[in-house]
């Protein structure tokens, strides 16, 4: 893992070069739409990262396996718990496996696309490297959010697919309908966007703080609340907590909505959540964008 880090720093020079060429393209009035040039830049990032990851192949493999083993242990824990109880807050074993698979989808996507960049951002603020990102003729948030893709984190994505294939047919009285097939991935993506918003907002605080070393810890402890069905937050402490994490920082929406949609679609008293999910996604995207821009105004380059 440390290896990859070193590789990242070493190759940064090369990366910067490609950024420039793509950026030059987007300035060219004869190029296509702006959207497509952004797509081009993104694809370059994706390819660069893949090349980099494949340079340290053994490291890549070990990274993949170790990130998968963590989720498998988690799965083992719940298998143990379900020995003693038929359900947790009305989630049966296989329904809960769908919930876990959803967690894995969201987490692996966030970790693959955004996590390394958010970590890098706080380092760039400290070293003054953010100057280079600000100078490029491209949206700064786009550039700092997507510069690196950690391919090894996608290992969990495939474990999640397997888990879904295993768990879904085992849910009692389950019938897959077409709208689920379309809505589930859509809501997983919305969940990823909400998580991204929380993360970039947290990372942006490093502009004020100078350095945010415990970013990952903080991120872990906050999102820890999202990994459980929202029904478990009950009682005099639980209900305010649930409302806080649904309406103020909507991280409970992230996994609960898509998982419920797929595993327990019949309970319509929760259908308002599906509508709220869209509102929450848009709200957190706009909110995080605002925080990011606001933080950027306070940015003062470090030395150089």
């Amino acid at each position: 893992m440390r290896n990859a880090d070193c590789g990242m720093r070493n190759e940064k020079g090369g990366n910067e070069g490609t950024d420039k060429s793509s950026a030059a393209q987007s300035r060219n009035p004869h190029s296509e739409f702006r959207i497509s040039s952004y797509l081009g830049v993104f694809l370059t990032f994706v390819r660069n990262s893949l090349v980099r990851d494949m340079t340290f192949r053994t490291n890549f493999l070990i990274d993949t396996i170790s990130s998968m083993s963590w989720m498998i242990m988690n799965l083992g824990f719940y298998t143990l718990v379900y020995q003693f109880t038929p359900n947790i807050a009305d989630w049966g074993k296989y329904e809960f496996f769908v919930f876990i698979a959803t967690t894995m989808f969201v987490n692996s996507l966030v970790q693959a696309f955004f996590m390394p960049n958010a970590e890098e951002l706080s380092e760039q603020v400290r070293t003054g490297g953010l100057d280079f990102a600000l100078l490029k003729p491209i949206d700064t948030q786009f550039l700092v959010s997507l510069r690196r893709v950690s391919w090894s984190s996608l290992g969990n994505f495939f474990v999640a697919v397997l888990l879904l294939i295993y768990a879904v047919p085992r849910i009692k009285g389950f019938e897959l309908s077409l709208w689920q097939v379309f809505l589930y991935p859509a809501y997983v993506l919305m969940g990823v966007l909400i998580m991204y918003s929380v993360m970039i907002a947290l990372a942006a605080t490093s502009i004020w703080l100078g350095r945010n070393q415990s970013l990952y810890d903080f991120w872990f402890y906050i999102t820890n609340f999202s990994r459980y069905p929202m029904e478990i937050y009950e009682g005099p402490w639980g209900t305010p907590l649930r409302q806080l994490f649904t309406f103020v920082i909507p991280i409970l929406v992230v996994i609960n909505v898509p998982a419920r949609l797929l595993a327990k679609p019949l309970e319509w008293e929760h259908s308002w959540l599906a509508g709220f999910g869209i509102v929450a996604t848009l709200g957190s995207l706009l909110g995080s964008r605002w925080i990011f821009k606001w933080a950027l105004w306070s940015y003062r380059s470090a030395s150089s």
Binding site: M1, N3, S66, F77, L80, T85, A89, I232
Partner: protein, 271 residues
Amino acid sequence: MLARAQTWWTILKICVEERLVYRGDFALGTLMRFLPIVTQIFLWTAVFAAAGSGLIKGYTRNDVVAYYLLTMLARAFSSMPGLASGIARQVREGEIKKFLIQPIDLVTYLLLARVAHKFVYYLVAAGPFALVYYLCRSYFPGWPPAEVMAAFLLSLVLAFLLGFFLEATMGMIAFWFLEVSSLLFVYMLFTFFFSGHMFPLEILPEPWKTFVDFLPFKYMAYFPAAVFLGKVQGTELVHGLMIQTAWILGFIVLCRVSMQAGFNRYSGYGG
């Protein structure tokens, strides 16, 4: 003898001062580490509500919560962040040379630095720990009798020693493989799962339960907590403490032997 004691005392003092620099960050970090307990309380409340019976493998819901809180304390003693990776880094970067030249023993130095680290940690973490334990006092069954309390405190100290020598031995592997970070990650996962930090080990089904009994990990989190809660009593308790001590002695020897073997293998270049 006196000169040597003075050297160790100076090392200890320097390490304490070095540690105190980051006390604010420390206290906040410690308090944040209790957040997962909040979700665990809700999760287990839901599990017990659905399970119907108020007892799972001898644990009530309150026992489970108290168990998690106590394993946090045990882990505060037995976890050694950065110890093995620190040794690995020193081997990789050649810093280890200074222990070959200077009349300072590597393991003793690391142990003192760790004692200083832990000492400062407890000083700063005592506040957050006391606060959380006070808030959660209703989950505890009450103070255990004095002899159990003594055994609990002893098991915590032994957990510290076991954690130290186990992880130091892991670090010595770096003499053979330069890059051990992924190995250490696997070790970390193993400890997390099999030390009982994730759940009370009693809920494991049979082949696994015996398997875990033969590993040293359970003495780093499960055992002290179980002692406090009165799950281990009488001769079983004495045996437990003896096995814990045996593991420590075993790892002291293994750590020394692997260090010597590592030193014999090691070759340093440049300055």
